[in-house]
């Protein structure tokens, strides 16, 4: 195995390989293999794995794809990610992909599924409707049916029979994946200097474009590394990032936040890889039900999940507390409805709870962030200079 620096360097390459070389190589290495692209935020990759497909996350082109055709599809007041996804599609980056999954997160992704249909991109298009009803017998049943549709699309090509055993095996692999990621976060919450957010970001993102088995090996190495390295702490505050769950900020911005004085100890970048908290049952003879229950009962808070039964502001406040963070940075993609509509809910609650925050907007293709860096720097300084009385940070 390579050393951690080499692994991370490779992850940097893989995670932004907009030709999806590794995924396509996996497909051509066997017969009847299926590649499916899924849009943010979350998709139960276990079902694709069990059916013989490689699920590949599509996060848009970031600041690495020039938009020429995509702007003709979207007005200026719509976020950036759909136009870069269309650009990638029309420039044949997805050649060899069999189908595409559009999770139900917002109207833009929903209508993008229609554009994919209209442009006849891929042999199947599935708008994946997550239940907003959280009763296992109602929302859970519907969710299982949604998963079964995806399985049917894939197995029509692979011919694989998705047995309980296969599904449980896939669930176990992804459980392992989530455990390792959480393990790294746990270490980082106390020793964030051991692995920068930028490094961690690439390590996790690389896992969305390669087989889970390979990614688990990478994570094992990185986990061992963060547990054993010492690193040099710097005088920085700890923050949680919230709101950047779909369109991703440019890597330069992710880096700039830490450089400006904030260690990021939790975040919702690539939330899908960490959406399910804790393990999913691997012993069930109805594994789809286990997956559905996990979504209903073990999901992280998300702007796309109806939250009145479990308000998101308290859940984020708990993360802040558990990770020992000093404040929150709300980073929303410009024109991102779910993120921006949640902002007042969080901010009004945090004003009452005494949790410090700042908010800014970004766009995936913008890599000038002097102003944001100054804002983050000032935030970090304000926390360092104005340590609050301990009880004002109490989380209800």
């Amino acid at each position: 195995m390579k050393n951690p620096a080499e692994i991370i360097a490779q992850c940097r390459i893989d995670s932004f390989d907009l030709s999806y070389t590794k995924a396509k190589a996996w497909k051509s290495a066997g017969k009847n293999r299926v590649l499916i692209g899924y849009m943010p935020i979350y998709f139960p990759r276990e079902i694709a794995h069990a059916a013989g497909a490689l699920p590949v996350a599509i996060f848009g082109g970031g600041d690495r794809k020039q938009i020429i055709k995509g702007d003709a599809f979207y007005q200026s007041y719509i976020c950036h990610i759909p136009r870069s996804i269309i650009e990638l599609a029309l420039d044949n980056h997805f050649e060899g992909f069999d189908g595409f999954i559009f999770p139900s997160i917002c109207d833009v992704i929903r209508n993008l599924s229609g554009i994919f249909r209209q442009q006849k991109i891929g042999s199947f298009i599935k708008y994946f409707d997550f239940p907003q009803n959280f009763s296992p017998s109602i929302g859970g049943t519907f969710y299982q049916q949604e998963m079964q549709h995806v399985i049917d699309y894939i197995t029509a090509i692979t011919g694989i029979e998705v047995t309980a055993e296969r599904l449980n095996h896939s669930i176990a692999l992804y459980n392992k994946n989530r455990q390792l990621i959480e393990g790294i976060y746990k270490v980082r919450q106390d020793y964030p200097w051991r692995l920068t957010m930028e490094e961690l970001y690439h390590v996790i993102r690389a896992g969305t474009v390669m087989p889970v088995e390979d990614h688990n090996e990478i994570l094992e190495e990185i986990y061992t590394y963060v547990q054993n390295t010492a690193g040099t702490p710097q005088d920085k505050v700890k923050v949680v990032i919230s709101g950047a769950f779909c369109e991703q900020p440019a890597v330069g911005l992710i880096k700039a936040i830490e450089e400006a004085g904030c260690y990021v100890v939790d975040d919702d970048y690539q939330l899908g890889s960490r959406m399910i908290t804790g393990d999913i049952d691997t012993t069930s003879d109805r594994p789809l039900e286990a997956l559905a229950n996990a979504f209903l009962k073990q999901s992280q808070y998300s702007s796309s999940i109806y939250d009145v039964h479990d308000p998101k502001e308290f859940r984020l406040a708990k993360i802040v507390k558990d990770r020992g963070a000093d404040g929150v940075i709300f980073a929303s993609a410009s024109f991102c409805d779910p993120s921006l509509l949640d902002a007042p809910i969080f901010q009004n609650a945090f004003n009452k709870m005494g949790i410090r925050y700042i908010a800014f907007q970004f766009s995936e293709n913008i890599n000038q962030y002097k102003v944001i860096k100054e804002q983050v720097g000032a935030f970090s300084d304000s926390i360092k200079l104005w340590e609050p009385e301990p009880d004002t940070l109490a989380v209800k």
Binding site: R117, Q118, V308, I345
Partner: protein, 431 residues
């Protein structure tokens, strides 16, 4: 001098209905009636009525505020409270109105909700909207009815079943509990009979635009016509009477060969027949409409009049399958259709009503409509070879209505249409 708008009997009937509802809303303390805030697309007005509750529609309040030039102030108020400049302005207008005392369109305070009925359809913002309201009204019960999207262009038995189960096990029990009224399926069925009938009349009314000249404007006047079904009267004998009356009035115009009524009286010459996609601007509604009628343009069909239900493809509430009918109704609202379905529906309108052009009014803060509109427009242009026009405005934020921009764009568009018509008529064989 502008001629006064003519008051038809149907207008009087509609006014009575609306005033009656707002009067009842002011008296809930005395009558003890429960109040249910809900949305237009996918509204369960029949069910609300079954439980003798009164509906409040925040979207309608927002558009009324815009027409009364109050929305700008409300939006600024919401923005002071951390609401972004770039999100749905209906939400901000509603939040601002609430922060300023929740004074409704009649100038009286609206009662707080007993129920927030989130039967949202075709737009995620509704969900965020009620998450926001729940924080403001912690005592209100929230009911979520999740409507699956017609992703595959179909309402499948699974989708219907999912909705019916939600209605049976979650929606109805909470409504019973809050209203103190037992669910009465016979009552719901009889309400739905009226809904079915109202649906028949609405379909007939909007189909009258096949006449030349069109007797109605299916967008600017159309938004008034859909008023009763969108504010809770679907399922009432009053609504049926209103639509019957309206239909008769319209047919009378057809017999006389008259065009649509505008705020300045009857439109004299129909030069262009258009299909419009997207909601209207409410802050400058009359100015906006005037640009069209001054140019002799009449809207023969619009997608916006289908947000509260699509009736022109044959679907109707089936009183014999009451809960299934409600489920199908929700799934069948315009913004819950996938893009190919939307294109098919609008193409049918263009063909059936012999439209000369297709115009998109893209709303800055409404992704539910706007995302995908450009792709729809191009496909319609290619498929039907119809000239397309594109303008941008906002629903209720006056900052985003630029009269001169819109007027210039539309004038160029009408010039193009007139040239196309000229060329078309030259090509037509001499009789």
């Amino acid at each position: 001098m502008a001629q006064e708008a003519q008051k038809e009997k149907s207008m009087v009937l509609q006014k009575e209905m609306v005033e009656g509802l707002f009067n009842e809303l002011t008296k809930v303390k005395e009558t003890g009636k429960k109040v249910c805030y809900t949305f237009v697309p996918g509204n369960l007005s029949e069910l609300i009525r079954t439980f003798d509750m009164l509906p409040v529609y925040p979207e309608i309040n927002a558009l009324q505020s815009a027409m009364r030039k109050l929305s700008g102030g409300y939006i600024k108020e919401a923005e002071k409270h951390a609401h972004s400049e770039d999100v749905c302005t209906y939400v901000k207008c509603d939040v601002g109105m609430m922060l300023k005392g929740n004074i409704g369109p009649t100038g009286q305070k609206l009662p707080d909700p007993d129920i927030l009925l989130l039967s949202y359809t075709g737009c995620f913002t509704f969900m965020k909207w009620f998450e926001t309201l729940k924080r403001e009204y912690p005592d209100a019960r929230v009911i979520m009815l999740h409507t699956p999207y017609q992703e595959n262009g179909k309402m499948t038995p699974e989708m219907i079943q999912y909705m019916v189960k939600q209605l049976q096990e979650e929606v109805i029990p909470v409504m019973e509990e809050v209203s103190g009224v037992k669910y009465d399926e016979t009552k719901l069925k009889s309400i739905l009979k009226h809904s079915k009938e109202a649906g028949d009349w609405i379909a007939r009314i909007f189909d009258t635009t096949k006449h030349k000249p069109s007797p109605i404007d299916a967008y600017f006047a159309g938004v008034y016509y859909i008023g009763p079904i969108n504010i809770g009267f679907r399922g009432t004998p009053e609504a049926v009477e209103y639509y019957k009356e309206l239909y008769n009035e319209i047919m009378d115009r057809v017999k006389k060969g008259l065009g649509p009524i505008t705020p300045e009286g009857e439109m004299k010459e129909e030069k262009y027949r258009l299909v419009v996609e997207g909601p209207p601007n409410w802050t400058n509604f009359r100015e906006f409409w005037k640009i069209f009628y001054d140019m002799g343009a009449v809207i023969v069909a619009s997608s916006y009049t289908k947000v509260g239900g699509v009736y022109d493809m044959g679907w109707r509430h089936d009183p014999e399958r009451p809960l299934e009918a409600l489920a199908e109704y929700c799934m069948n609202c315009y913004t819950n259709l996938n893009l190919p379905q939307r294109i098919e529906l609008l193409s049918k309108c263009i063909t059936d009503y012999k439209a000369d052009g297709y115009v998109t009014n893209s709303i800055k803060s409404c992704n539910s409509f706007s995302a995908g509109q450009l792709a729809m427009m191009r496909e319609i242009e290619d498929k039907l070879e119809v000239p397309v026009g594109f303008i941008e405005s906002d629903l209720v934020d006056p900052r985003y209505f630029s009269y001169s921009n819109i007027k210039n764009r539309l004038e160029s568009y009408f010039q193009m249409l007139s040239q196309r018509k000229l060329i078309g008529s030259e090509k037509e064989p001499a009789v």
